[in-house]
Symmetry: C2
Subunit: 321 residues, 2 copies
Amino acid sequence: MNEFELIQHFFTRSACAQGGENISLGIGDDCALLQIPAEHRCAVSTDTLVSGIHFPDQAPAFLLGQRALAVAVSDLAAMGATPIGFTLAITLPQIDADWLQAFSEGLSLMAQRCSIGLIGGDTTRGPLALTLTVMGAVPTQQALLRSGAQLGDLLCVSGALGAAAAAVPVVLAEIDRHTIPEATLQQLLAAYWTPQPQLQLGHYLRGKAHAALDISDGLLADCGHIAKASQLCLQIQQAAVPVAMAARQLLGDSAALQCALSGGDDYQLAFTLAPCELARLQHAFPAVQVIGQVCAGAGVQLLDAAGQSIVRSYSGYQHFN
Amino acid sequence: MNEFELIQHFFTRSACAQGGENISLGIGDDCALLQIPAEHRCAVSTDTLVSGIHFPDQAPAFLLGQRALAVAVSDLAAMGATPIGFTLAITLPQIDADWLQAFSEGLSLMAQRCSIGLIGGDTTRGPLALTLTVMGAVPTQQALLRSGAQLGDLLCVSGALGAAAAAVPVVLAEIDRHTIPEATLQQLLAAYWTPQPQLQLGHYLRGKAHAALDISDGLLADCGHIAKASQLCLQIQQAAVPVAMAARQLLGDSAALQCALSGGDDYQLAFTLAPCELARLQHAFPAVQVIGQVCAGAGVQLLDAAGQSIVRSYSGYQHFN
């Protein structure tokens, strides 16, 4: 099976290549063609995942396919965009039909969940790495930027944090998974391998949230991005940060809180909006939690129950440190 | 310098991040936002270049930056699309400020030539590899597909072929460059490192050419793609194929012809159109050459001066063979 047949067999014919009505031309020509509805912008984001850095070398292909696309689509959710299509550049050490079959099935599953179609890509030989570029549409002037936070906004997150970071030692087999209660184990693995892009919430927040992003580098680091872009201070009540139950069960409260604050990979949304929006929002999305507020100043302040600033050193995941 | 500063320093602030009016939001948020003009489609293509496979491990960074973007933008040209923006996912073995400086300068130079802006990307650590996704706009119904060739069309190429393939042994230092006349050497190196995407021609061919693509796998293999997609036969008069002078000077006529027929990397366009379009086309683009025609049947036929079919085995470059 040559390169062209390989691509055709596993991707072109797979369910993930079935796009929606806004894919005018899919895989097989020099370019794909997308239809961006009138009064919309085309939202674009690229993510690279490298074996041994962003996922374990022995990652299960079916789960990796799901995770790779979920991580990329999460950026569309954070922008309030509706997914349309994605390209996949995959670098493979060799052809392994079983691996490709499982990977493409995982990719297809997440593609269907997110209503996004594979529109092209490239296959090359080398150490396993994936680069996905996702494209969607968002109404002009309604995209959720990092730079729009306003004084007096509430700071919210879309759900509990920390499970994906807590799962890392399990995924890496540094913790024997047989020592973990089955329900906890499944929650941890699901958090790591199959995060669910918050597309419905992102859509709802169009024109309502003043600033938003997805938490990929860790809550504190990502809130720092909003603070910097908006030139304001984000205050976080530490006690209000929702910590995933599975993380607490595995690691205990203190370490789980650390995962929630500084671990990445949960792909929940963090966003700010006017207090008057909160009741309707939480009615529609009960998992949303208020964790703080936007105030004058700069950077991120983490506050204890007495309102005192907790000094901690934190940083997002940075590959070259 | 951490990862974020690295990206910001070399790419965000560089000239290549200066986009045109259709980039509503550039680097720095979860997504970039592009404006696709009314009655246009968004054209998208992805290319991956891996060190040691698509370019020599010791490739000069300034030239590599130019070539990587040119190769990607060529797919927009082949579609008749006007470039808007591109993302760059770059995997680097380490931070090398000199290398990044030179690479980003090369990238910026080609970005300016092609009027395309850097809108995002990702930087990760690993063996050197580049994935570029380019986006542009093409009027609805005027995109140049591979599938539209019609019986009786002329088959044309946009210019001389073979120089880039002939240059490979020079680029790899398998031929001592000091043995090559300076003018020839410069033409060969320019063909390999700085191919010029045929954007003006692609734009002109909108609504005129019936089928088109860029020659990346080699003339015969790429004409095979048109033949297959259009379900017709493409006949090529071997004597009509324009062979680059520099290739002939380096390799002699026979080997240079082989480069023109089967070597890739020239990024000229191959296209078919009605004979009545030819005179105006060649007036506007004198380098365009008619090399054959579209007829009933399947596949590609290479014909000698007597009209007899030349049997040869050929194939495009395939990484997994």
